[in-house]
């Protein structure tokens, strides 16, 4: 078990180095001189050259990479072109909001996706199964922005049940429990929109795992022992089918972060995705790269966690 975890940790070292290199390359490929914004006619070419030198822009690429990495591990992602804000500051401001949204969607995906998949599998080839399977396919197939717009249209604009965007009602100035309730009220629609695709994939995955497991010899053994259907399905089949589901804990993280870009922009949710969209519009490459690097690292950690979880739930790896 410890050996397995150590191996996984070791394997992720080259991956994390690769992530930083790829981020660095993309950043270097971005068009425009980082100093272009500061250029004003009164600065002479000599002065510009001096500041380039000072910023290390004339160093060989690998030296630049190590300097950049040195800053990054200290949490310094540089400053925005416009306004000279600290990028880390901007991100830190929004990170919690994105985490609230993605974490809710994450929980929703599994809390709803797993039971839907199990029910569909147990009721295989019945109307319930067909209905749930169809729902899951629609969930995978619907463009998330379209679903988001539909949800806002019906639940916010037509029915007026939920706010159409934002995270808090600024004018109300809530505090304490009222504030929490207000955030929750704003959270429900974007969390549903963000999780829909994931609910659908989790339930499809659970269903097919469950069907595979139900064909296993040990299920036949359990039946031969005269156990009740409930014990056969939940004790013998479900627990085995759940093991591979753990692997998509990790896989769903990049999916949710991608989705957050769109969901946050539709719902005006003040998170990293919305920051990213603004950054795209303003060509703030520094922000985009920082977001890339941070999410890639989070995804890597997520994968690592799900691999370790896998080892914990599967006794064959545990030993």
């Amino acid at each position: 078990m410890l050996k397995y975890i150590a191996r996984r940790l070791l394997l992720s070292i080259p991956v994390i180095i690769g992530i930083t290199i790829l981020s660095f390359i993309i950043m270097k490929l971005s068009p425009g001189d980082p100093l272009a914004n500061f250029i004003n006619p009164s600065i002479s070419m000599e002065d510009l050259e001096i500041s380039r030198q000072a910023l290390g822009l004339n160093d060989p690429l690998f030296v630049q990479y190590f300097k950049w990495i040195g800053q990054v591990v200290r949490g310094n992602f540089g400053y925005t072109y416009s306004g000279n804000h600290s990028i880390s500051g901007l991100i830190l401001e929004r990170l919690p909001n994105t985490i609230i949204l993605t974490l809710s969607a994450f929980v929703l995906s599994f809390v709803l996706g797993i039971p839907i998949g199990v029910i569909a599998a147990v009721r295989k080839n019945t109307r319930v199964d067909y209905g749930l399977t169809f729902f899951s396919l629609v969930g995978v197939a619907i463009p998330s922005f379209f679903f988001g717009l539909l949800v806002i249209y019906f639940f916010a604009l037509v029915l007026g049940l939920f706010p159409s965007g934002g995270m808090i009602n600024i004018r109300a100035g809530y505090t304490g429990y009222a504030y929490f309730k207000d955030v929750l009220h704003h959270l429900i629609l974007p969390a549903i929109v963000l999780s829909l695709g994931n609910i659908a994939s989790v339930s499809r995955f659970t269903r097919s795992n469950m069907l595979d497991v139900l064909k296993e010899d040990y299920i036949r053994t359990a039946k031969a022992k005269g156990l009740r259907n409930k014990a056969i399905v939940y004790k013998h089949a479900f627990r085995n089918a759940l093991i591979p589901v753990v692997t998509i804990f990790g896989l769903s993280i990049p999916f949710l972060f991608s989705g957050a870009y769109i969901t946050e922009s539709i719902f005006n949710w003040p998170g990293m995705g919305q920051l990213g969209i603004t950054a795209i519009q303003n060509r703030e490459y520094g922000i985009i790269m920082a977001l890339n690097l941070i999410t890639a690292t989070l995804v890597l950690l997520g994968n690592l966690t799900s691999d370790i979880l896998y080892a914990i739930v599967d006794p064959r790896i545990r030993h």
């Binding site: 036949r220 053994t221 005269g226 156990l227 013998h236």
Partner: protein
């Protein structure tokens, strides 16, 4: 004795009431090309403390028969006719819930071929044994634990206190099969079905397991239905034998009689292919041809395309079952002299010698 149309009576006239009675059982399977019989008109009795072996090649329907009794057929399989009596109760007339509650694991249990895949990989072996006791005897976990431990000892597992806490993958193949047997025994059922329980094991372990089954049969007064393709195993363990071919019983009788004077040309061929110590032929004879696929069975007697004694009528209709001594044979060769006259192909001489191809 008159030939009955489909099935003979019990091969061994006996006063004992059979524990398990299968009457005219037929199972159909749905395939992409339609519905086909996997087994047809199977009838047999199993008595207390007896071992009945069902022998046949793969595709003969021997496993389907045992799974049908346990009502564990795959989704595309269906029992189309017949009765299965356990303690004078036709279990096919019971609801699924009743079968689970009062038959499976309680009156009848099953040991499967591959103990690795037949045991749940994520549950400790103790848990897998205990759950049957808890389910059927309403025992507390503590009681169940004690019984499970005791049963593990009975099946010869060393240091059961440690083994009971282990997962299947931590045990060797032989140990796993002992666990399977313990699982089947733990509620002391009167009937045990063993479906090729030693096929996945090597020869020394096989002998140990067979020995164990033999002893347990004595201790627990169990009847065993032993499904196998291995005639050596049959000779070791069985009292009576059923030979199956293409989903039908083609011969049945006491093991000594069948091995001494096999009647059906297929049985004769099968016995001739059996490797034995006193047979110094290096090359084992084989029966020519192959077992036909379930979807492409011939007309008449299913064996006739491979049979050296085939007569014109064999291709036209299915033979009835004839009683010859203690044996029941489904073959036209025994139509005239069904009683006692040994005119059929013998194993030592007569036409039986030409029954097999060497090579």
């Amino acid at each position: 004795m008159k030939p009955s149309n489909t099935t003979p009576g019990s091969p061994l006239p006996s006063n004992k009431k059979p524990l398990l009675q299968v009457k005219d059982l037929s199972v159909k399977f749905r395939t992409e090309e339609g519905m086909f019989f996997a087994v047809e008109h199977i009838s047999f009795d199993l008595e207390e403390q007896k071992t009945l072996a069902i022998v046949g090649e793969s595709g003969s329907g021997k496993s389907v028969t045992s799974l049908a009794i346990m009502q564990l057929l795959a989704e595309n399989g269906k029992i189309t006719s017949g009765e299965i009596f356990i303690d004078d109760e036709d279990i096919l007339k019971l609801s699924q819930r009743q079968v689970q509650h009062s038959i499976l694991g309680k009156k009848i249990s099953m040991i499967f071929q591959e103990p690795m895949t037949a045991l749940n990989p994520i549950l400790k072996v103790g848990e897998q044994i205990m759950e049957t006791i808890i389910e059927h005897q309403g025992a507390s976990r503590k009681e169940a634990y004690a019984i499970a431990l005791d049963t593990l000892k009975q099946v010869g597992i060393p240091s059961p206190e440690q083994r009971i806490k282990q997962y299947p993958h931590e045990l060797s193949g032989g140990m796993r099969q002992r666990v399977m047997i313990a699982m089947g025994l733990v509620t002391k059922p009167k009937i045990m079905i063993a479906d090729e329980p030693t096929t996945a094991l090597d020869v020394t372990i096989e002998a140990q397991i067979l020995n164990l089954l033999e002893n347990l049969k004595e201790t627990y007064k169990t009847a065993i239905l032993f499904v196998t393709h291995d005639l050596n195993v049959v000779a070791d363990i069985a009292d009576d034998v059923i030979v199956m071919y293409c989903g039908e019983i083609i011969e049945k009788g006491p093991v000594a009689d069948i091995f001494e004077t096999p009647r059906h040309p297929y049985t004769i061929g099968l016995l001739a292919t059996m490797p034995s110590l006193d047979n110094d032929n290096d090359i084992l004879p084989t029966i020519r041809g192959v077992v036909p696929n379930i979807t492409k069975r011939p007309t008449g007697c299913y064996f006739h395309p491979r049979c050296d004694h085939a007569m014109p009528q064999c291709a036209q209709r299915s033979p009835a079952v004839f009683q010859v001594g203690q044996q029941a044979v489904k073959c036209f060769l025994y139509e005239q002299d069904a009683l006692g006259v040994q005119d059929g192909p013998g194993v030592q001489d007569g036409p039986g010698a030409g029954e097999v191809n060497h090579g």
